[in-house]
Amino acid sequence: MSASRYRGIEIRRAAFFILPTYIIIFTFIIIPVFFAFYLSFNKWNLLGSMKFTGLSNYKKLFSSEEFWKAVVNTFYYSFITVPVGIIISLFLAVLLNSKIKGIQVYRTIYFMPVMTSVVASAFIWQWIFQSQNGILNYLFGLIGIKPLSWLNEPRGLFTVIFESIDMRLPKWLGGPSVTLVAISIMTIWKNTGYYMIIFLAGLQTIPKTLYEAAEIDGAGKVRAFFAITLPILSPTTYFVLIMSVIVSFQVFEQVAVTTQGGPLNSSLVLVYFIYQKAFKFLEVGYASSAAFILFAIVLVLTVFQVKLLGKRVHY
């Protein structure tokens, strides 16, 4: 490609136009990525001199019980929030789509949590989850369920449920801690409206005649949902699935505001682990290696979903 294809004045103009954006992108994204990668092979506390230590940060990570706890918790969190979130938002979208009257009002109501900051929603939920004066335990009390310390309960959800009927579960069957479940509930509440809007947009492209034809053929509402809605909606569902998996692995603020990973690391998630190592203990090399592991996990999961599901999606 020869330079003569371009007009000099246009090149200069273009350079001037894209310069601000590229200065920012290079300084605050591209250079940092490489820097972070380099850091992950070094030991550094931000103050002294950097020391190249090869793979030792990664080795330390894999032998750290705390790190594995964070990995398991993050997977638990993803396993809870992604499917439950998708089912609820799809259900709401179908419900809203069938009654166009008042759709605006409902849409607004369901979307409000999306607009609210994580900090604000975490405060509200912490108040709801309060063990002493919280309304949730009060309501539980009315139907005879013992109060739970929602955000301060390191025991597994299943352990707690089975204990209430006097059964003991082995520890590995305990499931995610009650605290992690509480944090997941908060997140599902906050994100559902967002995915609902995306589903709603998908639903509105489905021609009404299909449902009319199904009705003539004697198919019920449920049958029509599985035979028409779900297949046609599959690209949307696929998109929402990939997005919400990525988002779920980056959970941080909910944990930072409510539990700081506790009690007993039962709600410790990967980004909080990274934050803690980097900015509380100043182990920035170690934290960077954890960040790259997380990056790799998300990348693998995304590629896996694309390969596995991409072909099956009905376009």
Binding site: Y6, F28, F35, L46, M115, S117, Q130, S288
Partner: protein, 254 residues
């Protein structure tokens, strides 16, 4: 869905005795603004509010400006490596924030910007997403318009500001709303790069006071309401652009 909001606001309007009273009442028996008064008195919430406004407005305004420029270059100008540069830009959208937060902190520290407004603003004054969004829209504006303008002796800069941007109002509104919402609600970044009370934003400021046990539940709910109302009002006013923005792009705040 709406219950947590109702419950939060209801709590903020109760006096201390009623907040902790059993059984619970959704509508407070005596509606009082005492919590709002106390929260304004006991923490610099007005200052936090102004700080949030400074940070969010600056980021939003500069994003609109810088992204318009670069989007225009990608949509309308011919220059070497244009496609390559554009792919690099798209690639940066896939990099998660937590991977780069440590080096960005170190870079800001190197420039001695930690604990300043600049640390909260500068990394976000332009972005790949805004550029991409605007470029896609600019491409839909007919080229003939431009040819007519060039004939009239109108330069690129004037053409962009006089003709392109006024035509792109809906997409600019979408970008503005999402950028504003993202910066207003952001907690992680101010938490990492600031320390001084005077420059804390609302989200960070409230979180700190709660952690230090400086507020009771009624006051905390009052503070939360104050922090949430601006965004909700903005949403109610510009709902259409919001929904459009999401359905067009599937975009999501970090």
């Amino acid at each position: 869905m709406i219950f947590p909001f109702v419950w939060g606001i209801s709590t903020s309007l109760k006096d201390m005795r009623e907040v902790l009273a059993n059984p619970f009442s959704i509508i407070p028996r005596d509606i009082t603004l005492i919590n709002y008064k106390n929260v304004v008195k006991s923490i610099p919430i007005v200052r936090f509010f102004i700080n949030s406004l400074i940070v969010s407005v600056t980021i939003t305004a500069s994003q609109l400006f810088t992204c318009s420029l670069s989007a225009y270059a990608f949509a309308r100008l011919k220059f070497p490596f244009r496609d390559g540069l554009f792919y690099i830009l798209l690639g940066t959208m896939m990099i998660p924030q937590h991977v780069i937060m440590i080096p960005v902190y170190i870079i800001l520290n190197f420039f001695r910007l930690i604990d300043t407004y600049a640390a909260m603003i500068v990394p976000f004054i332009s972005g790949a997403f805004g550029t991409f969004l605007l470029r896609q829209f600019f491409l839909t504006i007919p080229k003939e318009l431009e040819e007519a303008a060039t004939l009239d002796g109108c330069g690129h800069l004037r053409f962009l500001f006089r003709i392109m941007l006024p035509l792109s109002r809906p997409i600019l509104a979408t970008l503005a709303i999402f950028t504003f919402m993202w910066s207003w609600n952001n907690y992680l970044w101010p938490l990492i790069v600031t320390n001084r009370i005077e420059i804390r934003t609302l989200q960070y400021g409230l979180a700190m006071f709660k952690e230090e046990g400086g507020l009771n539940w009624g006051q905390l709910m009052a503070g939360t309401t104050i922090a949430t109302v601006p965004i909700l009002v903005m949403f109610l006013v510009m709902q259409r652009q919001f929904i459009q923005g999401i359905t067009l792009t599937g975009l999501r705040e970090g």
